[in-house]
């Protein structure tokens, strides 16, 4: 390097440095805020790295994987009936619903079909776990917006639903009740009447939520108009469940999916909301709890008689093949892609969980939001960490 070029280079560096110092004095620097992995708002171990300008979000990156438990890999060393024990823990609030798509996929591979009675009871439990899941969201939405009381009501009334699930399955959170070809047991005596009573309580809870949360002026002012997701953007990011129905897309696999559940036997409605903001997602979920009550009530009235278990061999060997079944779970679409090589254990299980896709929109939807809205938008997207990380 010659002397001249060296001097030029030094001059250049000096100019840059002085320029930089001037810039430092006049420009404000953004702040990086780390929401999580330990944070009250993320109800789990989600980490959102938020770059802030004042209180406005410039960029938000969700970081997941702090709770990864490797269920897809673990499923490869479990026999088919053992897998339900694992997948119970994916969406831990609506755990029975996790078992259903896996069992349906396995049934499709084995070409067995559950008897009608099993299908109906399956659907009832499926919808009960939806209620148990979503009413906690309704309470939690209040907490994220700063009202402490609704969540206690939610926990109180969820207990009744859990009791009903426990009465049938023996497990409050992890029923592990679904079997290939049917169910483990029949429902106990007097259960239908009790459940009808519980549905009355849930309806009362929904009315309370309307009064306490939805009817509240501040609640009306907070989530409206923030976190707006247009339908096409939502679809592009793979949103599902109430998140996409809140954007006005009339898509519900319970109606459109045609899988082996009894939803098509009863009269119900898919709720949508045209706005696509946080409030509409909350509102759709509230209506869906009511709708689920209606579905269960109608199903309870006409459970067909018969066995709850089809004829399946004692040792389950699934024929070689592939099957993908998805159902409309409490959090959105949940699908299992099961590949079998004709063995006792699945060769590969790919789990498509709803929250993983739902959370993928956060960088898009949080950009330009304010810190208080970050929390309410995240809350309205409603994810369960187990469902994200699996």
């Amino acid at each position: 390097m010659t002397d001249v070029s060296n001097r030029n280079q030094l001059a250049y560096i000096a100019a840059q440095a002085s320029d930089a110092r001037v810039n430092v004095e006049f420009e404000t620097e953004g702040m990086t805020l780390n929401l999580g992995p330990q944070h009250p708002a993320t109800h789990g171990t989600l980490r959102v790295i938020v770059k802030l300008d004042g209180e406005r979000v410039l960029r938000a990156d969700p970081m997941m994987g702090y709770m990864h438990r490797g269920y897809e890999k673990l499923a490869e060393v479990r026999t088919y009936p053992q897998v339900t024990t694992l997948v119970n823990r994916i969406d831990w609030l609506g755990s029975f619903a996790n078992e259903v798509p896996f069992i349906l996929a396995a049934e499709r591979l084995m070409e067995v079909e559950a008897p009608p009675r099993a299908q109906w009871i399956r659907t009832i439990l499926f919808e009960l776990s939806r209620i148990a899941n979503v009413i906690l969201f309704l309470g939690d939405m209040g907490v994220q917006l700063g009202a402490v009381t609704p969540v206690f009501f939610a926990f109180r009334d969820r207990e009744f639903v859990l009791n009903q699930i426990e009465a049938v399955t023996g497990g409050r959170f992890h029923p592990n009740f679904d079997r290939i070809g049917g169910l483990k047991d029949d429902i106990p005596k007097g259960w239908t009447e009790e459940t009808t009573g519980v549905l009355g309580r849930i309806r009362t809870f929904c009315d309370e939520m309307e009064d306490l949360v939805t009817g509240n002026e501040i609640f009306q002012a907070r989530p409206r108009g923030i976190g707006v997701i247009p339908a096409e953007v939502g679809l592009a990011y793979g949103l599902s469940g109430a998140n996409i129905r809140g954007s006005g897309v009339d898509w519900d696999l319970r109606r459109d999916g045609g899988v082996g559940l009894a939803h098509d036997q009863v009269d119900w409605k898919v709720w949508t909301h045209p706005d696509g903001d946080s409030f509409s997602r909350y509102w759709v979920r509230l209506q869906e709890v009511r709708e689920a009550c209606g579905i269960i009530e109608q199903l309870l009235g006409g459970i067909p008689s018969g066995p709850v278990m089809a004829k399946v061999p004692r040792i389950i060997k699934v024929p070689a093949g592939e099957a993908y079944v998805e159902t409309e779970n409490p959090l959105g679409v949940m699908g299992y892609y099961v590949v079998s090589k004709g063995d006792l254990v699945p060769f590969r299980v790919k789990i498509r969980s709803a929250s993983f896709s739902n959370i993928s929109i956060t960088p898009w939807v949080l950009e330009g939001a304010y810190v208080p809205d970050v929390v309410s938008i995240l809350a309205s997207l409603y994810f369960i960490l187990g469902d994200i990380d699996r």
Binding site: A41, E55, L145, V148, F152, V213, I218, R222, V371, V375
Partner: protein, 345 residues
């Protein structure tokens, strides 16, 4: 406390000691009452729980247990914190509370200081807590604390104005800034010539009362105005890094200030220590006055805590809009109306 109480002559040091002691009682008693009655019990009943039941009858000794717990905790200071400021902040907040309690009379002869600008002093010293909160937010060296502290500063400054303006109506009607004078004006007032219950200013200043309560709620950073401590976003805002005794100080400061502001509202709008049917100069009030005041304070605090446990929180911009676009114009209208009516009647 006047120099003679119930005709007992006291030396200066005795008076001072007594005052300091009563000041401590005046801060801790409302805090204790409010925490037990509302935070423990009312909140639990609203949320279909029982609240503390084990420690003492109906959990009444739970408070002692909680305080004991805070005493045992380690006094953690973040490594990057500004240690001096960090340690001072809770004291600054508490000082504001202690100064605030001075102006409230609990009987015709029961007061700490009786100055002609009593209300003015109360509103002035209540703002000191902002400095403490800012200090806490800055010194914690935590981003949550910093955002919380700045939010608190913005909010408290915004709501200082409606607080002052709401009081103006009372001052105009009573014709004095002296707190004792305001109580007397209510006690000796008449409603269209009928002096049966005196004239509690809430009857004429109901708008002022509402604005005062809203502004107090905001000053206390309680829901729906708890943006500075928004636990779902900022963990607990400026309190995030505090533990043990220093957290307890903030806690006592918050609840004692809630109680004292309630007592102030009771004094200005509900007649203070006075109950109708008795002569306000009666010596009896030196005995029952504090009890009456506490009763009225609990009534007002009930409203504050009812909102606290029911409402979600405002967003920062909505909160500022409420103050600047709604409360301040409304309180100005209230002042004008009060002035006109004062001249007319």
């Amino acid at each position: 406390m006047s120099s003679t109480i119930l005709a007992i002559e006291l030396a200066y040091w005795q008076q001072t000691g007594l005052r300091a002691l009563l000041g401590l009682v005046g801060v801790l008693l409302p805090a204790g009452i409010l925490v037990y009655l509302f935070l423990f019990k009312m909140m639990s009943f609203m949320q279909s729980r029982l609240g503390p039941m084990e420690a003492g009858p109906y959990g009444s000794l739970q408070l002692l247990a909680e305080v004991g717990k805070f005493f045992q905790k380690e006094d953690l200071i973040p490594a990057a914190a500004d240690r001096v400021v960090f340690k001072m902040a809770p004291f600054v907040v508490l000082i504001s509370t202690f100064l605030l309690v001075l102006v409230i009379p609990a009987g015709p002869d029961l007061w700490f200081i009786d100055i002609d600008t009593g209300i003015f002093l109360a509103l002035a010293v209540s703002s000191i807590s902002v400095i403490g909160i800012l200090m806490a937010g800055w010194a914690s060296a935590s981003k949550y604390s910093l955002i919380g502290g700045l939010r608190a500063a913005g909010q408290l400054v915004a709501y200082e104005l409606p607080l002052v303006l709401a009081v103006m109506g009372v001052v105009i009607q009573a014709g004095t800034l002296n707190v004792q004078g305001i109580v007397m004006a209510q006690a000796s007032g008449e409603i269209f010539g009928w002096g049966g219950i005196g004239n509690p200013f809430i009857l004429t200043q109901f708008v002022g009362f509402a604005i005062f309560l809203i502004a107090v709620q905001a000053e206390l950073t309680q829901p729906p105005f708890d943006m500075p401590v928004a636990e779902s976003e900022l963990v607990t805002g400026y309190l995030t890094e505090y533990s043990g005794l220093r957290f307890l100080m903030f806690f006592i400061g918050e609840f004692a200030t809630a109680g004292i502001f309630s007592a102030l509202a009771a004094t200005m709008f509900l007649g203070g220590w006075y109950v109708p049917g008795l002569d306000p100069t009666d010596n009896l009030f030196n005995v029952i006055g504090p009890l009456v005041l506490i009763g009225k304070m609990v009534l007002v605090a009930f409203l504050i805590f009812w909102f606290r446990f029911t409402y979600p929180r405002f967003r920062e911009d909505q909160l500022q809009q409420l103050a600047w676009k709604f409360l301040i114009p409304l309180s100005l209208v209230n002042i004008v109306a009060t002035g006109i009516l004062k001249v007319v009647f």
